[in-house]
């Protein structure tokens, strides 16, 4: 594929912005969590694009792919804990809307 690495970065920036947008405007906590996954994927894509950019025919720069593997691992952990928290919220409030997160004010 002869696409310049910048174009991969553009795609990543777009995905990241969509993720931020969703995080800020959606009220459903599960969808908010999905938007975080989208942001993590934007980071992964940037890591891979940068790794491709900094690799030469002789030596591949593998820091990017390795970080991407760790990101996938952490995404799994975050999803598990986040969904467990959402279940805990649902048991108390029968809702997963962010509006139900308003016990404390001031």
């Amino acid at each position: 594929m002869n696409v310049p690495s910048e174009h991969l970065l553009y795609l990543a920036a777009g995905l990241f912005a969509i993720g931020v947008l969703g995080f800020l405007i959606r009220r459903n906590v599960i969808v908010v969590l999905m938007c975080i996954e989208l942001m993590l994927n934007a980071a992964n894509l940037t890591f891979l694009a940068a790794s491709r950019q900094h690799s030469t025919a002789q030596a591949a720069n593998l820091d990017g792919p390795v970080f991407a593997i760790f990101v996938i691992l952490v995404a799994a952990c975050e999803a598990a804990v986040g969904l467990a928290l959402i279940i805990a919220l649902f048991r108390l409030k029968q809702s997963v809307e962010a509006d139900s997160l308003s016990e404390m004010k001031g």
Binding site: S5, L9, A12, F16, G19, F23, V29, V32, L33, I36, M39, L40, A42, A43, N44, T46, F47, A49, A50, S51, Q53, H54, N61, D63, G64, V66, F67, F70, V71, V74, C77, E78, V81, G82, A84, L85, I86, A88, L89, R91, L92, K93, L101, S102, E103, M104, G106
Partner: protein
């Protein structure tokens, strides 16, 4: 690298450097196993204490021998990271002691899980403080954060606790995504994740600067600096109080440790901007605290103000503080004093909190000096130290921060910061006045004196007493600590 070379990564130096991490990991696994076997129930507390004590000893020996940069330069065990490590171990131990007998009977079945999660957090903090590579830092950040998300909502039958945990989780994951995207941009600009290599290559151009901005935003979230401080009051108030103590002290110290290591990423011209952010943080924290009637929430706002104060040392270094390790010393001493003070203060609140939130309001503290004079005296010491009263550790920490600013030539931020610290006295003194000078409110007078649980709360009481003594020692005999700074 060839497969044969892998073993050479783990020479004696490397093993010494990671020994504290290994000790914690083994302690975590043993504790988890002890949870399975009913006969070992009485061994759980000794396991936690022994693990932390042994880890502390290993960290202290690293402080003396200094293994240095190990495992292909991804982790550093020098005097600074060892000093931070000791602080993390102490903060965890304090938080754990305060959690002893804190939870209601219905929450006890998960006590092992609670202790395992609490024991995991210092491992993450040490990875953060010693990280010389962005991957190691990120894994450390998650090893710290994920247990804290669960601990914050540990009292899952209470809406406030679950809300605190979920808010902390959503914003924490958001900040982690910022960190990742930021570091991916830095990697795109430099082609490396090693801090030393990034420093050597230098961060120029929009790609690198955008990355630095995002990474700093996520760090500012962790240390709760304007404009990323809005989550703090809710999360601190809703979490179980011992967990709040851990979040306020340990997390903040770990994020500051990494921030000091990555200050080089910020351009020199950012000094004034950082100073302004720090001062705004102090102002917002103090103003927020003035308006609170709940002491736990007030301490959360005060934590924001303190984070702003420590951030001033970053501005000082960027502006050219001639003392190269001035920022590190000031941050270490300040956070050291803050760990004992804030952990002690939150711990006393946990001690008083027999049933729900009754004791965290200012109203409920009225006249406490007559009922529990020792608790009131200790709380007074903590409040005065948080306010920066001379002869307490808090004063000296502030003095070191402001003198770093003055050395760097940032006179007006130092003056404004000092003034803001004086304003802060307003709300700390309000607590002291409530303790000593106001009569017990009628509603509380009829209640028993709160001594019912004093016997079983002995570990927490002793921990609070040790904190109070240490705060005074740090203020009166600072040489003990200052001479040993890295």
């Amino acid at each position: 690298m060839n497969p044969q070379d892998l073993l050479q990564l783990f020479d004696d130096r490397a093993l010494a450097a990671v020994a504290p991490l290994l000790a914690l990991a083994i302690g975590i696994i043993v504790l988890l196993l002890s949870g399975v076997i009913r006969a070992f129930e009485s061994l759980r507390a000794p396991i936690v204490v022994a693990t932390l004590a042994f880890t502390g000893w290993l960290v202290a020996s690293n402080f003396a021998t200094v293994p240095g940069s190990v495992i292909d330069g991804t982790y550093i065990a020098d005097r600074a990271s060892s000093a931070w490590g000791l602080l993390f171990v102490v903060a965890t131990l304090l938080a754990w002691l305060f959690s002893h007998r804190y939870y209601a009977e219905s929450e006890r079945p998960f006590q092992v899980e609670h202790d395992v999660l609490m024991l995991t957090t210092p491992l993450g903090m040490m990875l953060m403080a010693g990280a010389a590579n962005l991957i190691v830092f990120f894994i450390g950040l998650e090893v710290l954060s994920i247990p804290l998300y669960a601990l914050a909502s540990f009292r899952r039958s209470r809406a406030r606790s679950v809300e605190a945990g979920l808010k902390y989780f959503l914003l924490g994951a958001f900040a982690a995504a910022f960190f990742l995207y930021g570091s991916s941009l830095i990697y795109a600009a430099t082609g490396s994740l090693q801090l030393a290599e990034i420093k050597a290559i230098g961060l120029h151009g929009p790609l690198a600067l955008g990355g630095v901005a995002l990474v700093m935003a996520s760090l500012f979230f962790k240390i709760s600096v304007f404009p990323f401080h809005l989550w703090v009051p809710d999360v601190y108030q809703g979490s179980p109080t011992p967990v709040t103590a851990l979040m306020a002290t340990g997390t903040k110290a770990a994020a500051f440790a990494f921030l000091i290591n990555t200050m080089f990423m910020l351009p020199k011209s950012a000094a004034l901007a950082v100073a302004v952010v720090a001062l705004v943080t102090m102002a917002l924290g103090n103003l927020g605290a003035l308006a609170q009637t709940d002491v736990k929430r007030m301490l959360a706002y005060s934590g924001i103000a303190h984070a702003g104060t420590v951030l001033l040392v970053v501005a000082g270094t960027l502006a050219g503080d001639p003392e190269s390790s001035g920022a590190l010393h000031a941050a270490l001493f300040y956070m050291g004093a803050y760990v004992f003070t804030a952990a002690g203060a939150f711990g006393l609140l946990a001690l008083l909190e027999r049933d729900g939130e009754r004791f965290t309001t200012l109203e409920a503290l009225k006249g406490l000096a007559q009922r529990r004079p020792f608790v009131a005296a200790a709380l007074t010491i903590f409040m005065l130290s948080l306010g920066g009263m001379p002869l307490t550790g808090g004063f000296l920490g502030k003095w070191m921060v402001f003198s770093s600013l003055v050395r760097a030539g940032l006179i007006w931020p130092a003056v404004v910061g000092a003034l803001l610290s004086v304003i802060a006295f307003g709300y700390y003194l309000r607590v002291v006045i409530a303790l000593y000078m106001q009569p017990v409110s009628e509603r509380d007078a009829a209640l028993p004196s709160g001594q019912t649980s004093a016997g079983s709360a002995a570990p927490a009481a002793i921990a609070a007493a040790v904190c109070a003594v240490l705060v005074l020692v740090m203020g009166t005999l600072p040489g003990l600590f200052l001479d040993r700074l890295p």
